[in-house]
């Protein structure tokens, strides 16, 4: 963890952000753009209509090598890694021994069985701890290689595939949660430069789009090439947050932390059958007893659940806001909340007592001394548009 006295780190696109007149803020120990001059809402709308380019190089990228890489990673998560086909990507949860979530992540089978790797992307704020945890637990079973020399860009929105197809023909064949290696040609300043990327068709906005892993030395050229495309605008972390919340995606640190199990967090869809009780590879991950018991329900069912909420008045209800039922009893707390620019209503995620978690339940949020009526709703708040083919 960086202390407040450590200087902020910079991504390879730092110079570009300043050139674009970004408003910079500290995030995960990096100096990051929260918005550009167009503002958070315009950037949010552009991502849902055009193609938005995000610098997410603060996130951690790792490679796990060796024939045991998948089985080893699987031993740290309640997720099926072993049966993930080559070229496919999946969402995962690193758990602690109490079944609490250490981080959420994405991993790709890049053919680790034939001298490739399992490629893992983790949250920026957690990457140091994640790497230490992974090395400590499975470093003897597979090679764990951190990749600080790699940058990560995301191009998201309905026009993202139009842009990427122009630059890397064939990439449009990737389906949601798949990845592959591509090259694009940059012709900046008259020189031809080949830029190799590893692209996955995934992201954190609910829209179709791609995440692009590229060497730090080529990141600036790739970003400028993308920004030169007419459909593309730069998007900051402010809009990244409103986009992901409307899409019902969790933010580690807000909606997930070490006190939340995957069952409380409503992420049981990420726990494949094979790892559940009765499955061929049931358990065998940290906190399995607790998580599997919670999944079994009954007396072991969690006492609280993560839900989606909409405010019935136009008042944003933000994290840490306390929630009560209509009788005035405390029932939970908001973990993320804001005015969703696309849905044009205040939306939130919150942990509430299981009895109040049913869609349609009316709750009140205590905002600046006033009760704001809210209703539990299913997520996503805005329909997702993943390209499943």
């Amino acid at each position: 963890m960086s202390s407040s006295t450590d200087p902020l780190r910079q991504t390879p696109l730092h110079t570009l952000h300043l050139e674009l007149d970004a408003r910079m803020v500290p995030f995960a120990g990096y100096d990051m753009p929260v918005q550009y001059p167009s503002g958070v809402m315009a950037e949010h709308h552009h991502t849902r209509t055009g193609a938005g380019l995000f610098d997410v190089s603060h996130m951690g990228q790792l490679r796990l090598l060796g024939p045991d890489a998948a089985a080893a990673l699987e031993s740290l998560m309640p997720v099926d890694v072993i049966d993930l086909p080559v070229g496919k990507q999946r969402y995962g949860l690193l758990l602690n021994d109490a079944g609490g979530i250490l981080d959420d992540l994405m991993f790709v089978n890049r053919d680790y069985q034939h001298n490739g790797d399992v490629f893992v992307i983790v949250n920026g704020a957690c990457k140091v701890a994640d790497l230490a945890h992974i090395e400590a637990r499975i470093g003897s079973r597979c090679e764990v290689i951190a990749c600080p020399e790699l940058a990560l860009l995301a191009l998201q929105g309905p026009q993202a595939v139009t842009v990427m197809q122009r630059l890397a023909p064939g990439i449009e064949k990737l389906l949601f949660m798949s990845g592959g290696r591509f090259s694009v040609m940059s012709q900046a300043q008259g020189t031809h430069q080949q830029i190799d990327i590893f692209a996955t068709r995934s992201g954190y906005t609910g829209e179709d789009g791609f995440e692009l892993s590229v060497h730090e030395k080529k990141a600036d050229a790739l970003a400028r090439l993308l920004l030169a495309q007419p459909e593309v605008k730069p998007i900051g972390l402010g809009a990244r947050n409103s986009l992901r919340l409307e899409a019902g995606l969790c933010l580690y640190g807000n909606d997930l932390d070490t006190t939340t199990t995957p069952v409380e967090a409503g992420l049981t869809w990420a726990i494949q059958k094979v790892r559940r009780s009765g499955g061929a590879r049931a358990g065998g991950f940290p906190g399995a007893d607790i998580v599997l018991a919670q999944l079994a329900g009954g007396d072991s069912a969690p006492k609280r659940k993560r839900v989606g909420l909409k405010a019935l008045e136009r008042i944003p209800v933000r994290e840490h806001t306390l929630l009560q039922d209509t009788a005035g009893h405390p029932v939970g707390e908001v973990s993320s909340g804001l005015l969703g620019p696309t849905i044009n209503e205040p939306v939130a995620m919150a942990y509430v007592l299981t009895g109040c978690a049913g869609p349609g339940t009316r709750l009140n949020a205590l905002v600046r001394g006033k009760l704001v009526p809210m209703e539990v709703v299913a997520m996503p708040f805005v329909p997702t548009r993943y390209h499943r083919g």
Partner: protein, 123 residues
């Protein structure tokens, strides 16, 4: 007419009986990054000192008061769409609303530039 100021760190620019109202540089600086504004309803009449809206930043939320009695004639939709205008251009493009004065004599009680300068230096 010269700009007038309130003790709530709002400015008024009066022209032909209609005032454009916003928050001062001092106010936006104290608030931090503005993320949400709640603007009054157009056509609604407010008395002076009534809460007309809310300005919310990453740090805090503050009520926006009607500085003088009157009817709201227009609100700044650009500010609603991009609340950061309250920080980047609080005296210009970040204006909040326009009000048709129902009691112009109320302006006499407000501060001028020099008085506001002294006032805000002490708050």
């Amino acid at each position: 007419m010269a700009i007038k100021y309130t003790e709530d760190h709002e400015w008024l620019d009066v022209d032909a009986g209609c005032a454009t109202v916003g928050i001062t540089h001092h106010a936006q600086d104290a608030l931090g990054d503005v993320v949400f504004v709640d603007l009054p309803e157009v056509g609604k009449h407010f008395d002076a000192k009534e809460v007309a809206g809310v300005v919310e930043s990453v740090k805090a939320a503050a009520d926006v008061y009607m500085p003088v009695s009157g009817e709201v004639t227009e609100v700044n939709e650009a500010l609603r769409a991009d609340p950061s205008l309250a920080n980047s251009d609080p005296l210009g493009a970040g204006w909040f609303f326009k009000v048709k004065l129902s009691e112009p004599s109320q302006l006499d009680a407000l501060m001028d530039d020099a008085a506001y300068g002294a006032f805000s230096a002490n708050t």
